[in-house]
């Protein structure tokens, strides 16, 4: 077995609000990524997906604080590094993020060329103008974009799908080992979404990026994208297994409910009525004693609300439910 590139070990992170409340948004998350692996993370909004992204990148900007755990890239810990060093040496080069709102993440008053060369210069690359230009053109062409046209354009002149591809190209300019894609396709229509996913695969297949963390709320999409899937609920992983296991044979009640709420347009599956999960995720301002999903769980038992659930192995996958079989 190859050594993992990226290891996250019992990571915990919390927010401190201005009223003095502590919100434990990420609570004991562990996983690792091997070279060439794509791990999909699925969950509802507010389950801590985006906080996990910041925590994995070492971006602890108040009100977000680290409460414990470790993050290692190629064996080197990035926790406890000061913000400047992290920003210069780790972000972009070792670990990079594709932000959620690509349409708003490009400065509209600057050309794509300037935004992209900024990315290279601000991470300590000493290059002159010609080298930068050559590298940018090379990379954009390699990813199948009309380099000249795109580099000369202002972000507002590009359609949404192209903008998202430009953002992906810029965030992977420095060949990062790990890329975290935070809902890269949620604002796009189905056809553009496919093109964007294809671009991400291209990056993996050409060896530009090592491995990827793909965050989304659409489980069906993960079926086609990821090797492994982790399902997140209220700051914890509730199930972690291979794509086949999680999609076609989920064991944890929340994963089952999540799969049950998805629509299918395939002939033959149209008759299955999706069932929405009623209720809302628990409030994380105070510690929760028992199972966090107990309030909404269709298979709840009286003792669930008292027993804290721990990860256990069920048929070679991690499940956080003591009754899952």
């Amino acid at each position: 077995m190859t050594r993992p590139i990226f290891e996250v070990d019992q990571l915990r992170a919390h927010y401190l609000t201005r009223f003095g409340q502590k919100i434990q948004a990420v609570d004991g998350v562990s996983f690792s990524l091997r070279p060439g692996e794509i791990l999909g993370i699925a969950g509802e909004s507010g389950c801590g997906k985006t906080t996990l992204v910041s925590a994995c990148m070492g971006l602890y900007i108040p009100p977000l604080h680290l409460s414990g755990g470790d993050v290692r890239i190629d064996g080197q810990s990035i926790i406890g590094m000061d913000v400047e060093t992290n920003r210069r040496d780790i972000l972009g080069k070792k670990i990079s993020m594709i932000p959620q709102g690509a349409l708003n993440s490009l400065n509209p008053t600057r050309k794509v060329r300037d935004l992209a060369s900024d990315m290279m210069l601000s991470h300590g690359e000493r290059l002159d103008k010609k080298e930068i230009e050559a590298r940018l053109r090379g990379r954009f062409r390699k990813l199948g974009m009309p380099a000249e046209e795109v580099l000369n354009a202002y972000p507002t002149q590009l359609p949404a799908g192209m903008k998202q591809r430009v953002v992906i190209a810029i965030s992977t300019l420095l060949d990062p080992r790990v890329v975290i894609a935070d809902e890269p396709t949620s604002a796009l229509d189905v056809s553009t979404q496919k093109a964007v996913i294809q671009l991400l695969f291209e990056l993996m297949d050409q060896g530009i990026i090592g491995s990827m963390l793909f965050i989304t709320h659409e489980l069906p999409l993960l079926r086609h994208v990821s090797n492994n899937i982790a399902v997140m609920y209220a700051g914890e992983f509730v199930e972690l297994g291979t794509t086949e296991q999680v999609i076609f044979n989920p064991r944890q009640p929340y994963t089952k409910a999540l799969m049950g709420s998805m629509l299918s347009a395939e002939p033959g599956h149209q008759g299955q009525r999706p069932v929405a999960i009623e209720g809302a995720p628990p409030n994380l301002t105070h510690a929760i004693e028992g199972c966090r999903f107990a309030e909404r769980c269709p298979e709840v038992r009286p003792e669930c609300k008292a027993n804290r659930q721990v990860i256990r192995l069920v048929e070679e996958r991690q499940v956080r439910c003591q009754y899952a079989e």
Partner: protein
């Protein structure tokens, strides 16, 4: 089967700019939207779906062609509020549809301003409560709350609560599920069906996901570059699509039950 037409369009067009920069957002559309039906408008971004929705809402005026609502031309009244009493909309982003500086309850109550005869204060409270319960939200839950304190899914339900209060004849829903979690999507669609069933509403549902359209609608219009290139019942459109755009739209949905994307074999999941 409903036989009378709610909306009827003949050669409806809307273009922007002129000369070389002329953009025909909607081109020469002729269609009827029957009474008490859910009609879905499906297409990629930029295909003219939203312009069509705005034309139906009288937020845009057609450059040529005619649009009839209940048999009368759409702009026959000077005051557009007359039209908005019978045609209401739910948009993509619920947060931009509510004012951040007022409580949600106050804003739900203010929708009664649209009525010519305002009910009494007690009745207003009762009807707001009833509308909130219709979308499965306890009135106490949102008491004194402002829009930023609720999640996207809850806000989208607040917009639907407004529709339960106003009870228009027609609801135009422009991508109401795109800001909502995949797992709450089904519930938003269920509320739309409830509106149709309980209040006999005609619904125009605009989306880019043909899967959602199949789930709720009686009839589907597929739009491409400003034209309706295919229309028919969901079964017909999904089982035997005639145009390549419809086929493409169906193929591009990442469904779990079939191959979606091709990748070099060594690395595929």
């Amino acid at each position: 089967m409903p036989n009378e037409a709610k909306f009827e369009a003949q050669g409806l067009s809307r273009s922007y700019g002129h000369g070389k920069k002329l953009v025909e957002a909607v081109k020469n559309l002729t269609f009827t939207i029957p009474n008490k039906a859910i009609v879905s408008v499906v297409g990629q971004s930029g295909s003219g779906k939203t312009v069509l929705a705005k034309l139906l809402l009288r937020l845009e005026t057609p450059t040529s062609g005619a649009l009839f609502f209940n048999g009368k031309p759409i702009a026959c009244e000077r005051d557009p509020r007359q039209h908005w009493r019978s045609v209401q909309a739910v948009f993509q982003d619920p947060f931009s549809a509510f004012n951040q500086f007022f409580t949600i309850r106050a804003q739900l109550k203010s929708s009664f301003k649209l009525f010519t005869q305002k009910p009494s204060a007690d009745e207003i409270e009762a009807r707001v409560d009833a509308a909130l319960l219709a979308v499965n939200i306890e009135p106490k839950e949102i008491e004194g709350k402002y829009p930023f304190e609720l999640s996207g899914g809850q806000m989208q339900r607040m917009l639907l609560a407004r529709i339960f209060i106003l009870r228009p004849e027609v609801l135009i829903a422009d991508e109401p599920t795109s800001m909502v979690d995949a797992c709450s999507r089904a519930s938003i669609l269920d509320y739309l069906m409830k509106l149709k069933k309980e209040l006999d509403m005609t619904i125009v549902f605009v989306t880019h996901d043909i899967g959602l359209a199949c789930y709720i609608s009686d009839s589907i219009f597929v739009m491409h570059q400003g034209e309706i290139i295919e229309q028919g019942s969901p079964e017909r459109v999904t089982r035997s699509p005639t145009s390549h755009v419809t086929k493409q739209l169906l193929e591009d949905i990442p469904d779990v039950h079939r191959q979606w994307i091709r990748r070099s074999a060594s690395l595929s999941p």
